[in-house]
Every structure is written in structure tokens, then in C-alpha cells.
């Protein structure tokens, strides 16, 4: 993407909110609409077959990308939020009784808090929260203490969207599995950094959004282990999710269609498949190596300012840095940076509990990815100098 804002070349540092799209992804979506736009799994005609094939190919590409065992375990949704809500409803209906407990962490995005609160309200269950230390890291000992005979599910993020801290999801999963407790991982901020290997993590559910991994908006994935998905009731009824319908009884379709009621965003699914191809051909190791370099460079640059305080100083981070500037409100700083052509996010990042934990009401968040450069970080550093000059 080459574009200017306010007459300056845009520096895009809001990749944790959404990533820019490679041309091949835009072309892939374009091609669906131009060449084989027809509803999937419905028609007997050639065009519908083409669309269905492309859609199912995309599913297979995603299965391979996240190293899931079966294609049936890949459910297309509209995004991470929809994926988590689907589990919160369906899992809740099947397995949760009054007095049961769900464990989440203090680092969660509202999308991995509110669906569970709603489920707890509906089912009379309780939410337990794993605390974090002053570096923003999950305290595993406290997590172990929270597990009880009533724990039915653990739902944690893979990477804090607000602070960039990496959560030890494999350890968390291993511990939960000792007690036969299933685990859901919110992978919204992990997937794009090559961290989604289902068989290595061993988690039972994994949710992510297409638009954060260079794919289109409006498409996401819920990975779920077959044994749970088979047992869980669908959360939406409609077309494509049924085998037969009479007014007396409906027989649900097999996986994954049982959870894909109605027409899904199939052009976006094809685009997501292309994004996965793109990442593979670019090389995920190279991407993460560059992102780590950006993270160290930016951390060093920001730490050089006496007035800058980085929130979450864990050594295990993704290329996200949340910081506050002493004496300057994050909105003020964000606004000036915006005028300088630098896109950062300010506010609580849909993670109010994390902000409360650190006694702040918001931060400036710099979220980088592989197409960012160290020159852009230098531009940001100059921008911060300007902010300091204006406000202090």
C-alpha cells in the first residue's frame, strides 16, 4: 500500500487492528466476483461447483496452515468474535451447569470476556480470572490454583492485543488437559505471527480473524476438535446446516456445515486461502525474524525517551508496544501523530481490565508487521519528539 495522508507518506502502525492486503488477496476476491460468483454447496450448476471447490480448497489450505488434523474441524465464521461467541453458546448449552466455572485471563480482549459473561449469566456459571504480574505476564501458579473440580473450560488469548505479551498457551493447555478441561485460544493476535500449530499447542478450540492475517474482513475461523464439535449443538439455524427439515424435526448436517448456517462470506474465504498461500510463499520464519528485529529496534528507540513508559515489559512479546507518555494524554499524542501521517491506536484497545490492572485509562499502541521498516520507526520517534515539544 502506497498512500499519503495530510501530504505525508502514511506510516501504518495499526496492524493489530487490521493488516493491509497483498495484491494477490485483493485479486483473489475480485476474481470470485468476476468469474465464478455463485452460492456454495447449493447449485447443481457449473458455477456453483467452481465456487464450492474454491471455498473448500480454502478450508483445506487453512487446515494445513494451522496443522489441524481434519478439514471438518475448520469452521468459517465472520471473525474471532463470532468464533468465540459460537463456542460460548454451543459449548455452554451442551456442557455448562449452574455453579460451573470458566477460567479466562486478565489480558483478554473484550471479545474473550463478554461472551463468557453472557454464557455464565445464562447458565449460572462463574468466571475466574488468571492474574498477571507487573510485566503483564500470566502467573501460572495462580492459574493452577484457580483450577477446581468445577472448571469446565479455559479460554485465554495467545497474545495480548493491548500489550503484545505472549501467553504460554501450550503450558496452559497441558495443565488443563491433566484435568480433562478443554481449552480455547483466542488466536487473533497470534495467527499472523506463525504461532498457530494446533497439534503442537494441543488446544481444543482456536479462533482467529482473516483480516488480521492479510486476508479480507468479514471472514474468520473457528477450529474445534471434532469430538467437541460433534457433540455441541449448532448456534445458528438456517440453510446449509441441515440434512433434512420437516416442521416436526430437523436433522443437522455433518461437520463443518452444521456450524455454517446461511450463506457464508465465501469470496472472503477464498481470499483468506490466498493470504495463507502468500504467507507460506513469503516464509513465516523470515516474517517473524524481521518482526522481532522491528520489536527490538522500536523498544530501544522508545525507551530512549525519559517520558515514555512501556506498559508490559515482558521479554516474550509480539511486535506490539503499548506505551504512555508522562504528562500527555494518549488521545492528544495520537492526534498529533496522525497529523504527521503516523497511524497508531490510542485508548483502551477493547481491553479495559488490562488498563485497570496497570492503573491507566489507555495507551498509545504501536503494532508492527513484516512490511514495516526501521525507517518508519525513526519517523515515529521524530513524531514523539514533536508531541513532547507541543505538550510539555
Amino acid at each position: 500500500m502506497q498512500r499519503e495522508v495530510y501530504g505525508k507518506k502514511l506510516v501504518y502502525f495499526d496492524n493489530a487492528a487490521t493488516t493491509q492486503k497483498p495484491q494477490c488477496v485483493i485479486d483473489a476476491v475480485d476474481e470470485v466476483y468476476k468469474n465464478y460468483n455463485a452460492n456454495v454447496h447449493r447449485g447443481v450448476h457449473a458455477l456453483s461447483d467452481m465456487a464450492s471447490e474454491a471455498y473448500e480448497n480454502a478450508r483445506e489450505k487453512i487446515r494445513a496452515f494451522i496443522n489441524a488434523e481434519k478439514k471438518e474441524e475448520i469452521i468459517f465464521t465472520s471473525g474471532t468474535t463470532a468464533s468465540i461467541n459460537a463456542v460460548a453458546f454451543s459449548f455452554g448449552e451442551k456442557y455448562i451447569k449452574p455453579g460451573d466455572e470458566i477460567i479466562i485471563s486478565h489480558l483478554e480482549h473484550h471479545s474473550n470476556i463478554v461472551p463468557w459473561q453472557m454464557m455464565c449469566e445464562r447458565k449460572g456459571a462463574k468466571l475466574k480470572v488468571i492474574p498477571v504480574n507487573d510485566n503483564g505476564e500470566i502467573i501460572l501458579d495462580e492459574y493452577i490454583k484457580l483450577i477446581s473440580g468445577k472448571t469446565r473450560l479455559v479460554a485465554v488469548t495467545q497474545v495480548s492485543n493491548a500489550l503484545g505479551i505472549v501467553v504460554p498457551v501450550r503450558e496452559i493447555t497441558d495443565i488443563a488437559h491433566k484435568y480433562d478441561i478443554p481449552v480455547l485460544i483466542d488466536g487473533a493476535q497470534g495467527i499472523q505471527h506463525g504461532m498457530a500449530d494446533m497439534r503442537s499447542i494441543g488446544c481444543d478450540f482456536y479462533a482467529f480473524s482473516g483480516h488480521k492475517i492479510y486476508g479480507p474482513a468479514g471472514i474468520g475461523v473457528l477450529y474445534g476438535k471434532e469430538k467437541y464439535l460433534e457433540e455441541m449443538p449448532p448456534y445458528q439455524g438456517g440453510g446449509d446446516m441441515i440434512k433434512s427439515v420437516t416442521f416436526e424435526k430437523t436433522v443437522f448436517n455433518d461437520l463443518p456445515f452444521k456450524f455454517e448456517a446461511g450463506t457464508t462470506n465465501f469470496p472472503a474465504a477464498v481470499g483468506l486461502g490466498k493470504a495463507v498461500d502468500y504467507l507460506k510463499s513469503t516464509g513465516i520464519e523470515g516474517i517473524t525474524a524481521w518482526e522481532n528485529k522491528l520489536l527490538s529496534y522500536a523498544t530501544e528507540k522508545l525507551s530512549a525517551f525519559d517520558e515514555v513508559n512501556i506498559i508490559g515489559n515482558s521479554l516474550n512479546k509480539m511486535p506490539i508496544i503499548s506505551f504512555v507518555i508522562r504528562g500527555i494524554h494518549h488521545y492528544d499524542a495520537g492526534m498529533i501523530l496522525d497529523k504527521l501521517g503516523i497511524a497508531v491506536r490510542t485508548g483502551n484497545h477493547c481491553a479495559q481490565p488490562v488498563m485497570d490492572r496497570f492503573g491507566i485509562d489507555g495507551t498509545i499502541r504501536l503494532s508492527m508487521c513484516f512490511y514495516n521498516t526501521t525507517d518508519e520507526i525513526d519517523i515515529l520517534a521524530k513524531g514523539i519528539e514533536k508531541v513532547l515539544e507541543l505538550f510539555l
Binding site: Y331, D332, M335, K339, L390
Partner: protein, 153 residues
């Protein structure tokens, strides 16, 4: 100086700068110069809803005129509320209610604020007008009344 003369003065002040960065500096200066709000007035009941950063607006009614004081945790926002105070403080409810605010577009303020901040600006104006309406109503019905924010909504 009536409200329009005050608006013209603000327009003149801002038009001295071409670059929006300089205009922000001016807003920031105005924010810094705004007299501090008494801590006892920094209460939730004086918080303006619809602003992303916190803005407290405290009205006082003396001799038929409304005097505003305000504070914000963000300096640009404080500068914006300072502009509104410059225009509205010490005016009668009638003047505030009927003022046509053309300075916002003239100085390009709306275009240079993020949509959420532009909404915040409108929320501040709306709150000042609500106080004006409430005081006008009180004047008619019970002179010397001091409405709280609750009964202005």
C-alpha cells in the same frame, strides 16, 4: 463584544496560521491557559457524556448570566472547551441558546478533529445549550434557581 464578534476574533486568531500543526499549538496554549477547575467540581455529574477523554463542565448562574469553567484530562480537548468558554461564558441563556456557531467550520476545526473528537465537540456545545435552556426555564419559574445537570436532560 457579542458572540459573533468573539467568533470573528477566534477566526482571525486561527487564520494567522496556515499549518494545522500551528493551529494545534494554539489550541494547546488555550488549553494550558484555561483556569483550573476547582477539584470539588470535578465530579461525575459534571462530566460530559459523548467525549472520549474526560471533560468536566461546571456552570454558575450570576445576575442572569452563565459562567462556565471546565477541565479535561486531554490538552487538545481542554483547548477546545476553552474556545467554547471564550465564546459562551458570561452570556445570557438567550444568547447561548440562539448563537449560530460558524467559527467551527471557518477555522476548519471539525475537519481537523477525528470523528470521535468532533462528536465530543458537539456534545460540549449541546451541554452548554442545555444549561442555558435549564437556567432560562428556572429564571421564568423560580428566580435564582441553580439547576443540576440531571434535570437538564
Amino acid at each position: 463584544m457579542d458572540i459573533n464578534e468573539a467568533q470573528n476574533r477566534i477566526i482571525e486568531e486561527f487564520s494567522a496560521f496556515d499549518d494545522w500543526m500551528d493551529r494545534y499549538s494554539l489550541l494547546i496554549e488555550k488549553g494550558k491557559e484555561l483556569p483550573t477547575l476547582e477539584p470539588s467540581h470535578k465530579k461525575n455529574e459534571y462530566l460530559i457524556e459523548g467525549c472520549q477523554s474526560k471533560v468536566w463542565l461546571y456552570p454558575e448562574f450570576k445576575n442572569g448570566k452563565i459562567f462556565f469553567s471546565a477541565d479535561s484530562d486531554a490538552l487538545i480537548t481542554k483547548g477546545i472547551v476553552a474556545l467554547l468558554i471564550e465564546l459562551f461564558s458570561g452570556r445570557t441563556p438567550h444568547e447561548i441558546k440562539n448563537a449560530e456557531l460558524y467559527f467551527i467550520d471557518k477555522i476548519g476545526l471539525r475537519q481537523n478533529l477525528s470523528p470521535t473528537r468532533a462528536n465530543g465537540l458537539l456534545a460540549m456545545i449541546k451541554q452548554m445549550r442545555l444549561y442555558a435552556m435549564a437556567y432560562e426555564y428556572k429564571m421564568k419559574n423560580q428566580p435564582d434557581g441553580n439547576p443540576s445537570q440531571q434535570n437538564t436532560k
